[in-house]
């Protein structure tokens, strides 16, 4: 079983119209080389699930600038003016989701849950069209799980089975998205042999990971 493939092979799995999840928070912990390859490939009409829409020249923002995104599901788009522009002209649909709700929806999608109940958004526009459930006198919104065709995630140190160890604040959505897509590709800063990562330091279990690409050094 060889999971290590080229970046070219990796993006060949991503086709027009697919839903993709991309890890990272304002381009930290983002699989940059996979995004560059997607920009080069030019796949379009993608639905993108990501914490934010990055910056025009950094992170998933490049996909927005290149007009490859049909629909964006994110918590924050303020750092990429092109997202706002496409949202206002109607070129791209944008679904804004509170960050904690987005994290839990992805987690639910990856862990077999039918949804989560959160107090976040009660009494705001976020509650529109959602079922409200009262538990012990407190009102919660039912938020549904979310999954993708492909998750593109990042890992600092990845062994050849796909076990991931993170460094710094790169972790963010990566471990959650690793479980919530039909196909999971991790871009590794460093690929090591199985056994080189102490089992106690594995954060994302390799069993979630289908393919590994070499992202080289930062």
């Amino acid at each position: 079983m060889n999971k290590v493939i080229t970046i070219e092979e990796a993006v060949s799995h991503i086709k027009d119209g697919m839903t993709i999840m991309v890890g990272g928070f304002l381009a930290c912990g983002t699989p940059h080389k996979l995004i560059d390859a997607l920009v080069e490939k030019g796949v379009k009409d993608l639905t993108l699930i990501c914490n934010d829409s990055g910056f025009p020249e950094l992170g998933v923002g490049k996909l927005v600038v290149n007009k490859q995104i049909k629909k964006l599901i994110a918590s924050h788009v303020g750092t990429n003016p092109e997202t706002g522009r496409q949202m206002n002209t109607g070129e791209m649909e944008v679904d804004l989701v509170p960050q904690g709700t987005l994290a839990e929806r992805v987690r639910a999608g990856g862990s077999g849950l039918g949804g989560i109940l959160t107090p976040t958004g009660v009494g705001t526009v976020i509650e529109e069209g959602k079922q409200k459930i009262e538990i012990d006198g407190k009102t919660y919104l039912l938020e549904l799980p979310i999954r993708a065709d492909v998750a593109l995630i990042f890992g600092n140190t990845v062994d050849k089975y796909g076990n991931i160890s993170y460094y710094g604040s790169t972790r963010n959505f990566n471990p959650l998205m690793a479980a919530a897509a039909d196909l999971v590709i991790v871009e590794a800063d460093k690929i090591v042999e199985v056994g080189e990562i102490d089992q106690n330091h594995v954060v994302t279990p390799g069993l979630f990971v289908n393919y590994i690409v070499d992202g080289g050094d930062k």
Binding site: F25, L26, H76, G100, A103, T120, G168, N172, L176, K218
Partner: protein, 219 residues
């Protein structure tokens, strides 16, 4: 006071609310300044919603680590004893009531403790990021802002912009005073001696109850 002095004054007063051992989340802008005025002998842990507790001072130029950034995406540092985690844990900490207080700016806040700070329809739609979760989940929510904007009221009878959260604000700290949100409405607890009660009332659209034990706002 000029703009910067006002911001510094507000941040210093907010910092007096910090207690030893508190876990605190600071919003972007003015609230970030609060970290500069932590009282001596008080150890607080700053939470960064992108995934760590123990946010330290901004690194010196040339010492930035691209893999350690704050929730604004800017280079950051982590203190000994700090810890990194994923976004679900981060917001579990926030929603689960494990953050003692959060400090945020506001476009509008009202007499019922409603807060609007995430969008102006048709004009500015940056997204809520983590603000909705923070305001709902933190034990105490402090709004730190200038009392008015270009002479217009920000403390209203009723917010008319889309809300970030309903009825969650506990305290409003401005350059004019300290206001507590209570069941009876907004209570002015402290006043900056540079202003009269009349000044504060005029700058506030919402009904303002003057505390019987009103004291001078000190930093």
């Amino acid at each position: 006071m000029d703009k910067n002095q006002i911001k510094e004054f507000i941040a210093k007063r907010v910092a007096k609310e910090l207690k030893d051992g508190d876990v605190v989340n600071l919003g972007i802008g003015l609230p970030t300044l609060v970290a500069n005025y932590v009282p001596e002998g008080t150890n607080v842990f700053f939470q960064s919603e992108n995934g760590f507790v123990g946010l330290g001072p901004a690194p010196k130029e040339g010492q930035e680590d691209p893999y350690i950034v704050n929730a604004g995406g800017q280079p950051a540092s982590i203190i000994p004893g700090g810890m990194f985690f994923d976004s679900a844990t981060s917001f579990g900490i926030i929603r689960g009531g494990h953050v003692d207080f959060t400090v945020l700016g506001a476009l509008q806040v009202d007499g019922e403790g409603n807060l609007a700070n995430w969008m102006i329809p048709g004009k500015m739609v940056p997204g809520m990021g983590g603000a909705m979760d923070l305001v709902v989940g933190a034990k105490k929510v402090i709004v730190a802002m200038e009392h008015t904007v270009k002479g217009n009221h920000k403390i209203l009878k009723k917010c008319n912009l889309p809300l970030t959260a309903a009825g969650e604000v506990d305290m409003i700290i401005t350059e004019m005073g300290v206001i507590e949100v209570t069941d009876k409405g907004l209570v002015l607890k402290e006043i900056n001696p540079e202003f009269t009660i009349e000044d504060v009332k005029n700058a506030t659209e919402a009904e303002l109850i003057i505390a019987e034990d009103l004291v001078k706002m000190e930093i």
